[in-house]
Symmetry: C3
């Protein structure tokens, strides 16, 4: 195992851990018990990679092949079960954990798709799927408005990161600088969107008027 493969494995574990943390933070907002924390953490951490693996035909998915992934998600969930009340704002903590996971998984998901023989086009889309699906399932399960559909820039950050990574790889750039560049792009875009409240212009029913949408 080269130093790079070790890095890749650590990034993967970090991605599962931060998404698991984001899931556990939603569980804390919903006052679930410890099992609920572990379930939501696992679904959030594994969801995106599972859908990617199903779409690529990689059966069985990673979390059935190695107990380490459930151990990571479960430990993070229990840690947060006992410490979340110390966090100033669990919603801010959730946003930032989710942002780190988004950046890691957009690029790692695209990498796994390329390694499985996907076209560059499919690899970029599968990066976005890997980065976003776990969070969507987390939010639907817990009856929260999906972060994906809130007004801050979200899917676009994953798309940019995955596209930068795949584009650099197609240009012959080595894997590790390409990975780091893709992650940096995705995280920076999402971070600025969170910190400054950046958003894309939303749909308005009529220009210049703002009334509740009834139809």
């Amino acid at each position: 195992m080269t130093a790079f493969d070790a890095l890749l494995r650590w990034l993967d574990i970090a991605g599962i851990a931060v998404f698991a943390a984001s899931g556990a933070l939603v569980a804390s907002r919903k006052r679930m018990d410890a099992v609920g924390f572990v379930l939501v953490a696992a679904v959030t951490g594994f969801g995106g990679g599972t859908l990617r693996d199903l779409l690529l035909g990689r059966i069985p998915p990673f979390w059935l092949r190695d107990p380490v992934w459930l151990a990571v998600a479960g430990s993070v969930a229990l840690l947060i079960f006992f410490t979340a009340h110390r966090v100033e704002s669990r919603f801010r903590a959730l946003l930032w954990a989710d942002a780190v996971g988004l950046a890691l998984f957009a690029v790692l998901g695209a990498e796994i798709a390329l390694l499985s023989g996907a076209t560059p086009w499919a690899a970029v889309l599968l990066g976005v799927v890997t980065a976003t699906f776990g969070g969507v399932v987390r939010d639907v399960l817990c009856a929260e408005v999906p972060l994906l559909l809130r007004k801050e820039i979200y899917a676009l950050a994953a798309l940019a990161g995955a596209a930068v990574f795949v584009g650099l790889r197609m240009q012959g750039v080595w894997r590790d600088p390409a990975l780091l560049a893709g992650m940096a792009v995705a995280f920076s875009i999402r971070a600025v969107a969170i910190a400054r409240g950046w958003s894309l212009p939303a749909y308005k029913p009529r220009p210049g008027r703002d009334y509740p949408d009834r139809d």
Copy 2:
């Protein structure tokens, strides 16, 4: 490519386009940004076919094999982002776009299942899955009551269309008249249900009394 194959491809594109339009109309009701429009449009347009492909083992699903599908869904979504405010009632427009998509996908989904070697029985069910799943994901994601579960006749229209198509094919009828007959049946049933408010009798807790259901 025969004239019929060309027709089939156009019907497929039309199905993606109208379901994408229905997704974008829900996005407009929820005042999402342009990326949200594209995401909901794509999920609605691709959802049913993706589940069908996963259940048949057709990996990877169609939208990862050819960029045209995302181009179609994205163009429709952006068109609606800029024009939906001109629509009299976005909910009526949504109902009709969804009805056209339902009719096209019920039959096209059954056709693809037959071509993949499914039994007639499985082909009819996969037609219903193809026609309904995208809309269900759209509605769950956007926290709307699924059209599938509203009281107007919906799944039954898809079932009738898929069954007519598969039945005619089993009788030896050529593919194009069978396709058109199935689509006509599905669309007619759904159209009458929308236009006249037709519905099946719903469950009532006690005959003759109508009180809120608390248990």
Copy 3:
């Protein structure tokens, strides 16, 4: 077919039937029409096994291979459509039907996973997936709070049942006593949790204080 295989098939049918009943009872709480009853019953009965089959690469899933499963789910749904108003509390009936299904599917799902060559670890997890996923889809589709995430012990019962079954099998215990022991464990835990209102300690924002969670 040995006596045991016959038992296994009957247990499978019973599992589909009770989960279908739980789905139909949710449909009755939502006052759907008869088609809605059948749809929700089928999704609840088939959901867990379908996800298990997809994760194991068993394509197509069982309900596309044999019409008997839809016949079972549909008959149960229609029976409940006409009789649910006679049930004292549809929510209690739903809880108990769901509990029986949970116990059966946790063990039967793990058994199918072992037969498909899964490791003991994966088999236990797939037992939990088989037992819980159908109910989650039922609840999300009908906009109810998932039973899985309520405070009573739920996933833990499925986990215990699947683990007891797989553990006994690994120790060389014959299949039928192992199956029955696993089901008894899962059902007993869940039954006590329902009957006595047992639950695990839930997350509290601050020790000793109990205020609405706003962040």
